[in-house]
């Protein structure tokens, strides 16, 4: 998993990057609670310089999703 998403998640949750596993999922990382989720979305938006669409907001479930949103790739369901 590229380091950018992991670093963003670690910074948001006050964790060390090595403590964020590749399969990190919603609520399964220390600090990824309701307020942590809000901070993660806001930090992601600051990083990409735009507001997430509602579809993107509800698609953020994992480290992999964070990476996808950072790189501007679309999820399969968004393309359907």
């Amino acid at each position: 998993m590229p380091d950018r998403a992991r670093a963003l998640m670690a910074e948001t949750f006050g964790a060390a990057p090595e403590d964020i596993p590749d399969d990190a999922g919603l609520g399964a990382v220390a600090g990824w609670d309701s307020l942590g989720h809000m901070r993660l979305v806001l930090n992601l938006e600051a990083a990409i310089g735009r507001t997430l669409t509602p579809e993107e907001v509800v698609s953020l479930d994992s480290l992999a999703d964070l990476q996808r949103l950072l790189t501007g790739k679309h999820s399969p369901s968004e393309l359907a």
């Binding site: 609520g27 609670d33 309701s34 989720h37 809000m38 509602p54 509800v58």
Partner: protein
Amino acid sequence: MIASLTSTDVDEGYIRWWNDPEIQQGLNQPVRHWGFEQARTHVARFDDHNRFHLGIRCRRTTRLVGFISLFVEPRARVASTNIVIGEKEYWGRGVPLEVRGRMLQFLFRRLGVEKVKGTVYGRNLPSIFNYKAAGFRCEGILRADQPAVWGDGRVDVYLFGLLRDEWEARLRAAADSAPAEEVRDDA
């Protein structure tokens, strides 16, 4: 702890939540400017049959910290829900997740509903997290569906749903992944 609210449970804290801009903004609602009379009238509208208004109390202090509202459609066997944590010192402490679990058990097992729904107005990101963490799926987004009560423009509305089968599957998965000691204790 969750238990049905009655008019005698209405306290200054409960009234304050309805009049708090930050709380009402998250619900895309205006502040109510309620006093005791209006709040008690509101509580009395729930019949504990198809409309429930349950208080959320801190286990340690028994202080009322929030509430759950449930609206059951008996013919469709569907329930709409709303959870508000009014005391802000309890925000970010997982209270909605904990009480939603018990609420779902009540709705699916006791009342026999087949689906539980929830609605999020605008970018209420903590609420979106709480629904997803409880296993709800976002079934649709109504774009710019409501006028923004706070500020200009309109807000998107997120529709969440959880089916009984999905909830049962989550319970089984949690039991399967729990250590053997815990499973025995729960049996």
